[in-house]
Symmetry: C2
Subunit: 387 residues, 2 copies
C-alpha cells in the first residue's frame, strides 16, 4: 500500500521528554523529569460536586455539540479574571493551551516562515510549530528573558516572537518589569507580534510577577492561558485571547481541528470556579510548591559540588541547573538513572545553539523527602562522572 507521507511528517519526532519518561518511570526512580503538577493539588471533591451538579441541572446542553468558541460563562470568567480589559468575544477555549499553539502555528506559519523563540524555550511549542515547517531562530536570552538588541537583529521578516515570561518552562526564570517594557516597546516599533504563553503565572511564591505584556498592546499579542496548573491537566482545557485581526481565523482552525472543546468539562470548570474557588485554592498550591522549591534549594546547597550552578525560581514548577565545564547533561543521564534519579537534559529546549551542560529539575512532583534523597543521588552521580 502506498502510504506517501507529507513532507511535514519528517519534521515530527517523538518527544525526547516522553522517551526519557519511559526510561525513568520504573519503580524506585525519583524523577525530577516530568512536568506534572502535584496531584495533591487537584480539587477532587469540588470536581465531584460540579460533575453531579452539571449533570443534574444542564445535562443535555453539556453533552451535546456546542459552539467552537467555547462555553459563554467560562469565556466571561476568563475575560473578567485577566488584568486588562478583555471582551469575552476575544476568548477562545482550547483543548489545553497546547492546542492554542497548534492553532497559531496553522494560522501564522508558512513553510520557511521565520519565527522567534526564547533561548531556551518550551519544547511543546517547538513541537506544535514544527509541522508547519518554520525556520526557528532562538533569540539570545539572559536571566531576565530575551535580549532586546539580539531581538532587533533577528526580527526582520519574523512572523512572531513566542515568549513564556513567568516561571518559564524549562528555566523557571521570570522576565523583569524593565525587560517587559523594553520588549513591548521594541516589538511595537518593529511591528513584531508576540505570542505570550502564561500557564504558570498564578503560581508565584512571594509576590506576583509583573503584568502580562499583552496588557500593554493587546492588538499586537495573542495571550495563552491554561487551567492545567491551577485546577488539573486531565480535563484538557486552556484558552487564548486574540485580537480581532486574528480571532476569526483561529476560530475556523479550531472548528476544523476538533469542532469544540468538551462542553461538559467547560461547565465543570466554570462551576468549580463560580464562587471564587481559585482565590482560596491557588494560595494552597503556591504554598506547597514554594516549600518544595525550598526543599530542593536546600538539598542543592547541601549536596551539589561547588561548580554546579542553579537559579532560584520565584514561582512555577522548574529549576534550571548547569553542570561543570566538560560535562554533558544528556551523557550524565544514564549514570543518574543508575543512581535512581532522573531529570530532563536542557538540549531539546533549544531551537539552536544548545548548552549541553544544562538540565531541568521539577520540584513539584516528588515529595520533599524524595527531593532530598534524589538531589543527594544526583550530586553523587555528578561527582562520579568523568570530566
Amino acid at each position: 500500500m502506498n502510504w506517501t507521507l507529507a513532507t511535514r511528517a519528517e519534521k515530527m519526532n517523538p518527544s525526547v521528554i516522553r522517551e526519557i519518561l519511559k526510561v525513568t518511570e520504573r519503580p524506585g526512580i525519583i524523577s525530577f523529569a516530568g512536568g506534572l503538577p502535584s496531584p495533591k493539588t487537584f480539587p477532587v471533591a469540588e470536581f465531584a460536586q460540579a460533575c453531579a451538579k452539571v449533570l443534574r441541572d444542564d445535562a443535555q446542553a453539556s453533552l451535546q455539540y456546542a459552539a467552537s468558541e467555547g462555553y459563554g460563562p467560562l469565556r466571561e470568567m476568563v475575560a473578567a479574571a485577566l488584568p486588562w480589559p478583555v471582551d469575552a468575544a476575544q476568548v477562545l477555549i482550547t483543548t489545553g493551551s497546547q492546542q492554542g499553539l497548534d492553532l497559531l502555528a496553522k494560522v501564522l506559519i508558512d513553510e520557511g516562515s521565520r519565527i522567534l523563540v526564547e533561548t531556551p524555550t518550551y519544547l511543546g511549542a517547538l513541537q506544535a510549530f514544527a509541522p508547519m515547517q518554520p525556520e526557528v531562530a532562538g533569540v539570545q536570552s539572559d536571566d531576565e528573558g530575551v535580549l532586546i538588541d539580539d531581538l532587533s537583529r533577528k526580527a526582520p521578516g519574523a512572523r512572531f516572537l513566542y515568549v513564556l515570561p513567568n516561571f518559564q518552562n524549562p528555566t523557571g526564570r521570570t522576565m523583569s518589569e524593565a525587560r517587559r517594557a523594553a520588549l513591548s516597546g521594541r516589538a511595537a516599533e518593529l511591528g513584531l507580534p508576540l505570542l505570550e504563553d502564561n500557564p504558570y503565572g498564578d503560581l508565584w511564591f512571594d509576590a506576583p510577577p509583573p503584568a502580562p505584556m499583552t496588557a500593554r498592546h493587546p492588538d499586537g499579542c495573542v495571550y495563552l492561558g491554561s487551567f492545567s496548573k491551577v485546577l488539573a491537566p486531565g480535563l484538557r482545557l486552556g484558552y487564548l485571547v486574540a485580537p480581532k485581526a486574528l480571532y476569526p481565523k483561529l476560530l475556523q482552525a479550531k472548528q476544523a481541528a476538533d469542532l469544540h472543546s468538551a462542553g461538559f468539562n467547560q461547565r465543570v470548570v466554570a462551576e468549580v470556579m463560580a464562587d471564587g474557588f481559585l482565590e482560596r485554592h491557588v494560595p494552597t498550591i503556591r504554598a506547597l510548591y514554594k516549600s518544595q522549591r525550598d526543599a530542593m534549594l536546600a538539598a542543592m546547597r547541601q549536596h551539589m559540588p561547588a561548580d554546579v550552578r542553579w537559579n532560584t525560581p520565584a514561582g512555577g514548577m522548574f529549576l534550571w541547573a548547569r553542570l561543570p565545564e566538560g560535562m554533558d547533561a544528556t551523557r550524565l543521564l544514564a549514570r543518574a538513572v543508575a543512581h535512581n534519579v532522573a531529570y530532563v537534559p536542557g538540549t531539546p529546549f533549544y531551537a539552536d545553539h544548545d548548552d549541553p551542560r544544562t538540565l531541568r529539575l521539577s520540584f513539584v512532583t516528588a515529595s520533599a523527602d524524595e527531593i532530598k534523597t534524589g538531589v543527594a543521588a544526583l550530586a553523587q552521580a555528578i561527582r562520579s562522572e568523568p570530566r
Copy 2:
C-alpha cells in the same frame, strides 16, 4: 502590528452550516439543519455514576497529564469491539473523530496533494483537509457509493480516498456489500489508501451494515470511529485505528496538537461501557431514530410535490432530498425559514460539481410532531417557490 497570515489561512472559511444554524436557531423554527444527536439518548444517569466512581477510585490519574495514545483500558475496549483482529496498540484516542481527520491531514497531505472524496462528502472532512491545501477531487458516486471506474480514472497520484460507507453524512446512503468488495479490491490493486470514517455504523434500523472495508485489508486503511453518536458528543472522544506504517507519525501529530485527550473523559466512557452498557443502550437509539425516520418519510409522502425526490436511509441521522428541476436549495432556504423550517443545502458537501437541487434533512433532532409540521411547511415553501 504586522499580523501576516499563513497562506493556508485563506483556505479556511466559516462553516456554511454554522452560518445557517445561526439564522435558523431562532425560536419558532423547526430545524432539520443541525447534525445533533437527540439529547434524549444521552445516558445522563450512567455518566453521573461513572463521574462519581472515577473521582472516587482513580481521581489522581484521571486528572493528571497522560499518555498521548489514550487510556489503555479504553483502547482495549475499542479494539475488542471491532469486527476484525485489532491490536490495542493500533488504537489512538482522539478529541472527537474530527481530530482524527485533522491528524490525518497533517500526516498525509502536502500542499497540492491530490486527495479523493465521495460525491457528496462530509463537510467537516473537507474543512479538516483544507488547511493542508490539497487538490480535492470528488469521485462520481451513486446510491451505493463511489463508482469504481471513475475511481480508477482519478486515483493515479492520489494520496488517499476518504469514504463514509454507513448512513453517510450528508446523504444517509450506505455502501453495498458488492460495492465494498469492488472498492477494496480496486484500491488494493491501485495501492490507494482508504480513510474509512464510521461515526454512524451502529445506528442501523433493520439490519447491520456490511463489515468495514478496513477489515479486508487493515494495512491499507485508517479506520475512524466516535463515541459521539452512541454516547454523547459533548465529551469529545473518538478514535482511529492505524496500520503500523502510519501510527507513530499520527501519534506525534496528536501529541503536538493537544498532548492527549481528556483522561477523565476517557475513564468515564470506559466506566460507562465496562459492563456491556452499549449493547442495551444502542438498540434504544436505533428504535428512536427509526421511528423518527419513519415519521419523516410519512410526512414527505403526504406533503411533498410529486417531483421532489428523496431516499430511504437504512440508519443514521440524515435523509437526502432533491428539488424539482429549475430550483436551487440555497435560494429556497430564505423562503423555508420564512415558513419556520430549516435545512442544509447540499452544495457545501460537494468537493466539485455540486448539485444545487440537493438538500440534507436531519430526522433525529426534532420530535416526530415537529417533523410532521416542519415537512408540511417545507412542502409549502417548495410549492410557493418560483421555478
